[in-house]
């Protein structure tokens, strides 16, 4: 366990039980997943049972119990994107990366995810890689977008 890294996260909080979700978010952001040993430590420090931590960690979509890849690819399957071919976009990405949504490529480069709506519906279908949005995407633009991150 990386005690120093965890301490620097926990030091931002009073460590009350209701700090649980923000603490897990910081761990997720910093480690790209929620490592088991860290969760045990959080359980003690925040005085929250480990069972509750696991139920929270599995309830919310942003948390992952396994390490994620270097780049997060999010494909919008919100209503507008659904109507405008979001599913096909997702399938094309899934083919090219060789992973199903929710998984990470073997080389740990890309994690593929679907989301409910990215809030850029006017440019559907929309996808996001890390913090960058791509609007009016289509199957034939996928290779070019992925190339930016290879």
């Amino acid at each position: 366990m990386d005690a120093q890294r965890l301490d620097s996260i926990l030091s931002r909080y009073e460590c009350d039980p209701w700090d649980l979700i923000p603490v897990l978010q910081d761990i997720q952001d910093s480690y790209s997943y929620l490592p088991k040993e860290e969760l045990q430590e959080v359980s003690q420090r925040l005085n929250v049972p480990l069972t509750q931590i696991f139920s929270v960690a599995t309830f919310f979509k942003m948390f992952s119990l396994v390490p994620k890849g270097r780049h997060q690819v999010k494909v919008c399957l919100g209503t507008t994107c659904h109507l405008r071919g979001g599913t096909r976009l997702m399938e094309s990405l899934s083919n090219r990366l060789g992973v199903e949504p929710g998984y990470t490529t073997k080389d740990m480069e890309f994690s593929l995810e679907t989301v409910g709506c990215l809030g850029s519906c006017a440019q559907a279908p929309v996808m996001m890689v890390d913090d960058k949005y791509f609007g009016r995407t289509s199957v034939d633009k996928v290779p070019k977008i992925l190339k930016l991150y290879k």
Binding site: P17, W18, D19, L20, I21, P22, L24, Q25, L46, V48, Q52, S55, V56, F59, F60, K61, M62, F63, K74, G78, T79, T80, C81, H82, L83, R84, G85, R88, E91, S92, N95, V115, G116, C117, L118, G119, S120, C121, A122, Q123, A124, V126, D131, Y133, F134, G135, R136, S138, V139, D140
Partner: protein
Amino acid sequence: MPRFESVDHLQEYRRQLAARLDPKQPQVLVCAGPGCLPMGSDEVAAAFREELQKNGLEGKVALKECGCQGLCARAVKVLLRPQEIAYQHVTPEDVPEIVEATLKNGQVVDRLIYEDPDTHDRFAYKADIPFYKGQQTVVLRKLDVIDPESLDDYLAMGGYRGLRKVLVEMSPDQVIEAVDRSGLRGRGGGGFPTGRKWRICADTLEEVKFIICNGDEGDPGAFMDRAVMEGDPHAVLEGMIIGGYAIGARRGYIYVRHEYPLAVKRLALAIDQAREAGFLGPNILRSGFGFDIKISRGAGAFVCGEETALIASMEGFIGEPSPRPPYPAQQGLFGRPTVINNVETWVNVPEIINMGADWFAAIGTENSKGTKVFSLVGAVNQTGLVEVPMGTSLRQIIYGLGGGLGPGREFKAVQTGGPSGGCIPPQFLDLSVDYDSLQSVGSIMGSGGMIVMDNTSCMVDVARYFISFLYEESCGKCTPCREGLKHLLFLLDEIIAGRGELAHLDLMEELCATMSSASICGLGQSAVNPVRSTMKYFREEYEAHIRDNKCHALVCRPLLKYTIDPETCTGCLACVRECPVGAISGIKKKVQELDQELCVKCGLCYEACQFDAVKVE
């Protein structure tokens, strides 16, 4: 920015600010809103920065990256003040010409101005463009004026004047009275009267109370809250501080979806600025009233937009709703009375205080006051954000502002209210949009998403889409919702696969009746709206799937057949590369063969082919 020690100090600063600002100074506002960001607005802004520098104009021309300018369909939008010349589809390559022609020589770059899709009339100035003419902006008013990261800009537009007014002139009770009299109703979906909610909370005997701003914006297709949080963050804060003063709370929280990183960043910056200037903190403008705000990030769960689930997750639990009463206004966060309102609701508050309850109550209809922001998306020409008085007709919004559907496209339905809403057919286009009228046709206002659908959308698929969305997002706590969604999804999948029976429709109706009456929260109760409204208004589509195994919109995969047209196929192999199952084969530059046995009907070949040689029926 000074720290304001009194309301007079603020007044004085505002006067100085007005004197310092030159209304004639040229300004370039590059839209960096939710619609323009994905189209490369950052590159356009960078090009302006470079070009202004090259021309020695950095000091003379103000460059701002602002919030949504409304007409997202024409991204990237650029607005030049003070003339208000509105350019469309701007790319970095256009920037040198804009700087040379418009900024240096005062000429309009003709090829970048607005052209009406129908009449082909061309307009250079924002005020002449029909899209803007038909609107009345209250909530979006500052989005294409201010730099969201500048407190000075907000102050120059009259920001924190509402806060000053309540601290100096109004008792908490008078503030509640004003909000009540204005007729403001919640913009997050339910439409509960805001003043009444505040009164319930203020009347409790508890010492500690809380304010929450609901920025979870889960409805797919709605992005007005994102646009406001990113584009005018101080307005959200000001509304909440006024609310805190009114009900006697000292702490507020903004709950923002984690998919909105820029909103979090902008709000955090605004909070820092407000603290530094003395608009937040233990003793605001030395009035004796103290209030502070923290941001809570969502963790990716649609149901957490529901107020009791949102509160549960802020307490560190999973986002399960609980039955009401008690309402959060009586017993909310940590068991304390809590007023929770939507982003757009909060932003209306300072305007009501400034302009007066009567002004607000004069806009809109009998029971729905004020304006409403809609995100107009889907199969409409001019996608974007529009703000109109309550009571404006669907036709005026979709055709008058949205410019209709474009050549060859036929209006089929408009979906309002997100997954809890319904699909409204053409016969109701003249319906005036307010809380009650939408409900009367089986939909709801919801947060203001308006998704226009044409003949390429299949209504059975739309119903299935929402049910599968809600099935994924249901927290699973109550049986009618959990099991009802599962069975609805099963039945819809059968219909889509061509295995449906007419009796399934009755079964679905029965499931809907139980779900709407017996689910704990709004998710389950209103999940039936997409199913009911499509079954009611588009029954013939269900029947076509069931009786004829046909999806006329060519959407439902199991009912489709893909073929390659030997006449047009050039043998470029684009489809072969795309096909995930290797169903297409042949020699390069020869006509390709598609094996129906292997084909999983994903349509990737159809989209990949540049020559329209892949056919679907």
